[in-house]
């Protein structure tokens, strides 16, 4: 799970002696962990083995919720598929887009700060309802996008009504808000020592070679971090699907997060909802573990340098 423990490069030696002090720095977080996090976390685990309904009543039912989820609930299988698709569409595209734009904007020209800020504006609105409304309006059957398609002599698309497109249209909204990843990449790019590029120049490396051999390894910790975070977020996210399509049409945008939310707060089945959330949790843990496993192969850390 850990990314840093095994490296015992010279840089860490001085800190070895200060074992105890670390707890002091960690104290606020530890207090928060015990005081604020444990109870809700384990409550929800407990709920997942009960038939807890918000409308009253809680009985221990063992694994029934999980059994029902995997063997009986057709919605769950659909939602699982939709969630995986959603994650596979949004995460790689969002990261690629963020990285490409960050690379593009990582130059010293006049007004570059202003330009970066402008590029970030779409992300400022976050999960705002207005943006969801805006997206909905733009992709309506007679909305702006279809008007553009018509102007280009392309056939119109029912972005919200056609179950083949609804999920992708929602993903486009997520990808469009690539700003926070872009900011992270920009900050990381700034940290790449100029000497490395100069050295590469002397070696006569081309732009692509520099990107692959200098830039990518240097910012790989941040790419890794962003990848993990975006994946976790994508597997849980449901806001835009909730506001725009409410899971439809034909449940093609009914992601797990939304199913969980509906079970918990529309149907009051908090026990069942908790079991869904622990399944999502398990999924995320597995994916994250795999990513961490893979990280030693491609994530480069400063102190590993020979």
């Amino acid at each position: 799970m850990k990314t840093n423990g095994k490296k015992t490069g010279s840089g860490r030696i001085a800190y070895r002696k200060r074992d105890r002090v670390a707890y002091l720095y960690l104290l606020p977080w530890l207090i928060g962990l015990v005081m604020l996090q444990f109870f809700p976390f384990f409550s929800s685990l407990y709920y997942s083995f009960t038939d807890y309904k918000v409308t009253g009543g809680m009985n221990w039912i063992g694994l029934d919720n999980y059994i029902r989820l995997f063997t009986k609930d057709a919605d769950f299988h659909n939602s699982l598929k939709v969630t995986v698709l959603y994650t596979l569409y949004t995460v790689p595209l969002k990261l690629t887009m963020a990285l490409a734009i960050a690379m593009f904007l990582n130059r010293d020209i006049k007004g570059i700060n202003l330009i970066r800020t402008l590029y970030y504006i779409p992300s400022l609105f976050g999960g705002s309802v207005a943006i969801a409304v805006l997206w909905k309006l733009m992709f309506l059957d007679n909305g702006v996008i279809n008007a553009m398609l018509t102007a280009l002599h392309l056939p119109n698309i029912q972005f919200w009504g056609d179950h083949r497109y609804a999920l992708k249209t929602i993903c486009s909204l997520e990808i469009w808000q690539f700003g926070s990843s872009m900011v992270m990449f920009l900050a990381a790019l700034k940290n790449v020592p100029k000497e490395l590029y100069e050295a590469a120049d002397i070696d006569g490396s081309g732009k692509i070679a520099k990107f692959i051999h200098v830039t990518l390894p240097q910012i790989s910790p941040i790419i890794f971090f962003t990848l993990i975070m975006q994946t976790i977020q994508a597997l849980q996210n449901f806001t835009s699907a909730f506001v725009i399509t409410n899971g439809g049409p034909l449940k093609s945008t009914y992601v797990l997060g939304m199913m969980l939310y509906k079970e918990g707060f529309a149907y009051f089945n908090m026990g069942y909802a908790s079991s869904i959330s622990w399944v999502i949790f398990a999924m995320i843990v597995v994916v994250t573990l795999l990513l961490f496993r893979s990280s030693s192969a491609w994530v480069f850390y400063e102190d590993e340098e020979k």
Binding site: N4, G5, S10, G11, R12, A14, Y15, D19, A22, Y23, Y25, L26, P28, W29, L30, L36, F39, P40, F41, S43, S44, Y47, V54, L105, L114, R116, Y119, Y120, I121, P122, S123, L124, G126, G127, S128, A130, V133, L134, L137, L140, V183, A187, A188, K190, P193, E195, P221, I222, F225, I232, Y261, G264, S277, W278, I280, F281, I284, V285, Y301, E302
Partner: protein, 283 residues
């Protein structure tokens, strides 16, 4: 020589052109949204025209007035009262925790690190009820404590992990060599690392500011009385589906709501992704 310079100029013009084209494509929805705030519903639906028939600011004026009980001035005041402490507290507590995780070796580190990451992975919906029960038992409901205290206790692992990753990028030799003789670890953090972490801290601060600002559900659940409402709550109230929706006004209010964020980002653009002085960083 001249050809080279000319080449450079062409290059530069080309770069700006490209930036403009991409920027326009990215910002088009926002531009459209801005002009939509001057439009009537009839103009918004089914029309591809960008510019409105007329520029009247009454949607903005009406929007600012809010629901007639409090204006947006009040909501902005509340929002800042909520968001600014949360942002600062998050930065302090997360930096301390990240420092501990990244620069120290201590017993139980691996497990605690795993726990820290794991806390990000459980979807929020099911945590709401137990969390609410707990806070209400402590009398925190209808105060901003459900926001302040978790921030002070670094409860959002995202920021810890983010800062850990950035600290990774700063070579350990640096803090040592700069403070060779008996420099306390706290001084290393404050004098050496913090200045180097500035871009990361700025990003983290901006994210936390923005997310807290835009967050709806938590504010809805924990805040009850209208006098403590934030922009995010007021905005959602203005959009209530039961009323007849005037989309132009919705867009106008959304713009008013996002305006402070824009101002903040423009004001902070200098620090936005300000690089650390990379020269000399690698000894």
């Amino acid at each position: 020589m001249l050809a080279k310079r000319k080449n450079k100029t062409v290059n530069r013009v080309f770069t700006y052109l490209l930036i403009a084209v991409i920027g326009l494509a990215l910002l088009y929805p926002i531009i459209w949204m801005f002009f939509a705030s001057f439009k009537t519903n009839e103009e918004i639906y089914g029309s591809t025209r960008l510019l409105p028939a007329g520029f009247s600011f009454h949607n903005f004026v009406d929007g600012w007035k809010g629901n007639g009980v409090y204006t947006y001035a009040r909501y902005f005041f509340n929002t800042f009262k909520l968001v600014i402490p949360v942002t600062l507290l998050t930065l302090v507590s997360s930096t301390l925790a990240a420092y501990a995780f990244e620069r120290f070796r201590f017993r139980g580190k691996n497990i605690l690190f795993a726990v820290m990451i794991a806390l990000l992975m459980l979807p929020n919906s099911v945590l709401m009820i137990p969390r609410y029960s707990m806070y209400s038992g402590w009398g925190w409901i209808n105060t901003y404590l459900p926001f302040y205290v978790p921030a002070a206790l670094a409860s959002n692992s995202f920021f810890i992990y983010m800062l850990v990753q950035f600290l990774h990028g700063i070579p350990g030799e640096l803090d040592e060599s700069a403070c060779i003789d008996g420099c306390g670890s706290f001084r290393i953090l404050v004098q050496i690392l913090l200045p180097l972490m500035k871009p990361a801290l700025f990003s983290a601060g901006l994210f936390q500011f923005m997310w807290t600002y835009n967050d709806y559900l938590n504010q809805l659940i924990f805040i009850n009385s209208g006098e403590k409402y934030t922009v995010s709550l007021a905005l959602r109230m203005s959009l209530d589906a039961e009323a007849i929706v005037n989309w132009g006004k919705v867009m106008a209010i959304s713009f008013i709501a996002v305006l402070p964020l824009m101002i903040l980002f423009f004001a902070a653009q200098k620090y936005f992704v300000e690089g650390i002085a990379t020269s000399g960083l690698k000894g």
